[in-house]
Amino acid sequence: MSLVAAYLVPGNPLPYLRPENPPWAGIASACRAAGRSLSAARPDTILVYSTQWMAVLDQLWQMRRSFDDLHVDENWYEYGDLEYQITCDTELAAACVEGSKEIGISSKGVDYEKFPIDTGTIVANGFMNPGGRIPLTIGSNNLYHSFDDTVRLAEMAVDKANRMGRRVAILGIGGMSGSIFRHEIDITTDGIATAEDDEWNRKMLARIQQGGSVSELGAFAQEYAKAAKADMGFKHFGWVLGGLGRNISGAQIHAYGATYGSGAAVIEFRT
């Protein structure tokens, strides 16, 4: 088995840009702890799926070798810039383009200077892989793909990595409940937008901790996604589930909290 680590982390930039804010401090320190665990696992490549890299045509894979740039989030620009360095395992990405087609999903690679790497990928890379030391293989979130499509894509990516002899980590980037506060808040008092969202998030986290198969967890995840308006149908969890061979044997919740009302969790999965 080439899979050496698996995580689910939030892509909201607020804990990264204001890690000292008490409601976000736990998420920030948990992301760093996950980064230390990731480093200790010594993967050759991190297989990344972020809900914020949205595509509508094809399954896109990032084929540019490196990025050293600066990004400003379209929502949270007032909190400052996001500098980033990212390197990519383009050989594995190319294999994933072909692999996507093999499983019936049209796909292509993208290799363009100044391609807008999404906030989620930048934040997770900054927390867990500062300096871009470990190469990433990054797949897009095609809005038309289902939870199951996402499971299959991750499964395929891990299989391709296996065949290439790579040690890989799998990283799903996205939030939990999706409702944010629609008014300005004192950020020191941030919390989950509604009690119902909080309850659903906790139920989902409990199920993840408990573990299970794709048929059990996938069905519940989709019910949860609908009830809690989870970020992009919680497909980033599908990515992790697929990468783990459609079965979770348990997980550690490093942190759970709010990002301007929406849910955020840092989860490390047993591999």
Partner: protein, 347 residues
């Protein structure tokens, strides 16, 4: 100052394919043309703007999607390279635009007074979204008229479509008040596609027009139904039908640009002039004009000696005072948002 006017509103859809088809020097990829009917429609927009002589172009873009409130570009000059994340093969555009910050500040202020959360975007490295850039390039490729860019708050997605449109109505009213107070002659651009269901695979040659057609007969018929009503000036009926149209045709009007524009123009019950229609990867795109000067609702350019000076208001910037946008050189903008005590960034 007071006495500004909205002189016209345009539906100005933003498929990047149209810029790609034109091959302007700012865009890297080269094409063999394509989507001519829509590009010729935009030629008429360009001629109209020449005649209308506006001081400012305001554009509401669904691709600057904001979650917390309604945002306005608030930096005097924004430069950079915009690569479309969906169509990077078609759109890699180097832009350099001047913002009418004074008007943006006023609109932001009045939006707050209407009870909306609103923000002025002051980060000089902000990357302008491709919807804003595409509509502006197609309407005025010279980039010699200052602009005000407005984000599309995701309220119509979070709330019901009707509740979201109610927010866009308030945003339009706030925009109108700001324009009047500023003394500007303003043109509004609703940067949106009509039916928005599209093919999920791209032809090998994107500009192969033999591959282009409506997504479905149903989508085509809905587009034509709305267009006929707009041409006939049945605008109140259009607004009544809009939520159903959005629901069935997945219309990009859901993002609120059309409602914002009509609200700012005080919902004129006037026929719009259809300048052209075309499909882009199956979506329905209409280029429409409501010229208020032709209906006695605004002053024609040749009679304008209005409340403000007749010179185009220049944004208060000097090139040396602007920070480069989208690059990694120079100092990092540390943000003017909320902070918790003194601390270094990303500590």
């Amino acid at each position: 100052m007071s006495g500004g006017e909205i002189v016209a509103g345009f539906i100005a859809p933003h498929p990047p394919h149209l810029v790609y088809g034109e091959n302007p020097p700012q865009n890297e990829p080269r094409s063999q043309g394509g989507w001519e009917q829509l590009r010729w429609a935009y030629e008429k927009v360009r001629e109209s703007i020449d005649e209308l002589k506006p001081d400012v172009l305001l554009v509401h873009s669904p691709h600057w999607n904001t979650q917390l409130g309604h945002h306005f570009l608030g930096v005097p000059r924004l430069q950079g390279k915009s690569v479309d994340p969906i169509f990077p093969n078609l759109f890699r555009y180097t832009y350099d635009l001047n913002v009418d910050v004074e008007l943006a500040q006023l609109a932001c202020k009045y939006a707050r007074e209407e009870g909306l959360v609103s923000k002025l975007m002051t980060n000089p490295r902000f990357r302008v979204d491709y919807g804003t850039i595409t509509s502006l390039h197609l309407a005025r490729p010279q980039w010699d008229i200052p602009v005000v860019g407005l984000s599309a708050n995701n309220s119509p997605y979070y709330l019901t479509t009707e509740e979201g449109f109610a927010e866009m109505d308030l945003l339009g009213k706030a925009t109108r008040k700001a324009i009047i107070e500023s003394g500007r002659r303003a043109v509004l651009l609703c940067s949106a596609t009509m039916s928005h269901r599209h093919f999920q695979e791209e032809p090998e040659t994107p500009e192969d027009m033999s591959q282009e057609h409506p997504y479905s007969m149903e989508m085509y018929q809905w587009d034509m139904r709305l267009i006929k009503m707009m041409r006939d000036g049945e605008m109140s009926e259009v607004h009544k039908l809009l939520p159903e149209f959005v629901d069935i045709a997945f219309a990009e009007f859901k993002a609120g640009s059309f409602t914002w524009m009509c609200a700012a123009m005080e919902y004129p019950e006037l026929p719009g002039e259809l300048l052209g229609f075309g499909n882009v990867i199956g979506t329905g795109n209409a280029v429409f004009k409501w010229d208020l000067t032709k209906h006695g609702l605004a002053t024609p350019a040749d009679r304008w000696n209005g409340a403000t000076s007749t010179t185009v208001p220049q944004p208060a910037f000097t090139p040396s005072a602007t920070a480069p946008s989208g690059g990694s050189s120079g100092s990092v903008f540390s943000g003017d948002g909320p902070s918790i005590g003194a601390r270094p960034l990303n500590s």
